[in-house]
């Protein structure tokens, strides 16, 4: 189990557990505040001939909500996570195979998409899949007073004027994916992007500490 406290004004404390499932090739459970997502990665595995791509791996993302069957909202989140993963995994190294990422929402207390992105990245690292870089997800809101706040709870998201979720690369903090809701100006968007890129550094530092802790226990 790995714990880290973010600055209380910026990010809720997060913690992560690696390799907790025995069947998948990689798994991780990521918690941000109260929001918890469990991710499992299978791959590179056999692929159905109808789905195989001749020069790269077929990437599938499945998001299962806490209650009920997956619906349109889950499908759209799956596509966003899939686009982020496709941009970072070196799929050309495993042609005609499949990589599946399965995400299960354990508890949703706000910032669900960014928690899913972080859990997916940790599970991909745990599975040992070759990647160009690691990525992280950050959610921020612009509240009624015009302040920018990170890692909102469900209440903050409901009352906010605009909600932004970005996924950010570890190499040069490039923006990989953005999903926004609400009304905002161009300057506010650019400001949010810049602040999220700075806050992403904390999450990447947490990844680093988590991985070094995992490998320090195993080396002899």
């Amino acid at each position: 189990m790995e714990e880290a406290g973010g600055e209380t004004q910026l990010l809720r404390p997060f913690c992560c557990e690696h390799s907790l499932l025995s069947r998948p090739d990689g798994s991780a459970c990521f918690t941000q505040g109260d929001t918890t997502v469990l991710a499992a990665v299978y791959g590179p595995a056999e692929v159905k001939v109808s789905k195989e791509i001749f020069d790269k791996a077929t990437l599938d993302v499945l998001l299962k909500p806490k209650v009920g069957l997956p619906s349109v909202a889950e499908k759209s989140k799956e596509q966003m996570i899939r686009n982020t993963c496709e941009a970072t995994i070196l799929t050309a190294l495993h042609p005609r195979s499949s990589i599946t990422v399965v995400l299960q929402v354990i508890h949703d207390a706000g910032s669900l998409l960014s928690c899913c992105l972080n859990a997916a990245c940790m599970a991909l690292m745990d599975a040992g899949l070759p990647m160009k870089s690691v990525f992280c997800g950050i959610t921020c809101v612009i509240d009624s007073g015009g302040d920018i706040l990170f890692d909102p709870t469900t209440k903050m998201e409901k009352e906010a004027a605009a909600v932004f979720t970005f996924s950010i690369n570890s190499v040069e903090k490039q923006l990989l994916m953005s999903s926004t809701k609400g009304s905002y100006s161009v300057e506010e968007l650019q400001q949010c992007v810049a602040m999220c890129q700075k806050a992403a550094e904390k999450i990447f530092q947490f990844y680093r500490d988590s991985v070094s802790r995992k490998y320090s226990k195993l080396s002899e």
């Binding site: 595995a45 070196l90 005609r96 195979s97 599975a127 040992g128 490998y215």
Partner: protein, 241 residues
């Protein structure tokens, strides 16, 4: 922001971290798994990036690689693996090696096999074989003979025994010469063992109980430190009659 590789040895890196290697012109630099070319070559050396998360390791003088943990096997040429025969179709057997596709094994690739003298291999048998073709673009191919035509320990793995799976790093550790775990365990319970680089291990001891004990110890030595392992062996040696 690139780090110097010589300083980063023994430290963890994440995928995408740039490493510079101070290489004099004319020197050779060998890059192992987990590293790929990225970034511009600097005046002082060449740029490589880690593509897996793990610990940077070095073997003198200039071999570098990233050691990472993995459960899923990716076929590589020259590696010895344990496969399970799934189908017999015409002249070849299809063998499951735990990778993304099944490997093919020709029936002529056994010692002393000819068109008239077919090897005695059934569906469901375990085979210990070596990859002759294993790259991302082609179907992997196995053989049970070496380049001289001798079996050299490869072939169908004998009756009885137990096959179980461990992570790839444990299989590699157990294969290292003078592995302490195998030596100590062999002093307690004599056993036969075949270790495949795909994480599959086959053991056979005198009785079924001993076989299960050996299998459990090998599976759990992944999560134990050296001291914990010594305690387990001490407890086991007290129970051996």
């Amino acid at each position: 922001m690139a780090r110097d590789a010589a300083e980063a040895v023994g430290e963890t890196v994440l995928a995408g971290d740039l490493l510079t290697f101070p290489v004099a012109p004319g020197d050779k630099l060998l890059c192992g798994p987990g590293l790929r070319r990225q970034g511009r070559a600097h005046a002082s050396g060449s740029g490589l990036a880690a593509c897996k998360c793990g610990v940077v390791r070095r073997k003198e003088p200039s071999v570098y690689w990233v050691e990472s943990q993995q459960k899923r096997y990716v076929p590589a040429k020259g590696e010895y693996v344990i496969g399970i025969v799934t189908t017999k179709s015409g002249d070849i057997f299809k063998v499951d090696v735990g990778g993304s596709e099944q490997a093919s094994l020709s029936y002529l690739a056994f010692e002393g096999a000819t068109k008239r003298n077919r090897p005695n291999v059934q569906v469901g048998d375990l085979v210990f074989a070596q990859f002759v073709v294993a790259n991302k673009d082609m179907e992997p191919e196995l053989v049970c003979i070496d380049s001289c035509g001798r079996s050299n320990g490869m072939g169908v793995i004998g009756p009885d025994g137990l096959l179980f799976k461990v992570s790839l790093s444990i299989a590699r550790k157990l294969l290292s010469p003078n592995c302490e775990v195998i030596k100590n365990l062999g002093e307690l319970y004599p056993f036969e063992i075949v270790i495949g680089m795909n994480g599959r291990i086959w053991v056979k001891a005198k009785t079924i109980k001993h076989t299960l004990l050996v299998a459990n110890v090998l599976e759990s030595c992944e999560n134990m430190t050296t001291e914990q392992r010594k305690c387990v062996f001490k407890k086991l040696s007290e129970n051996v009659p």
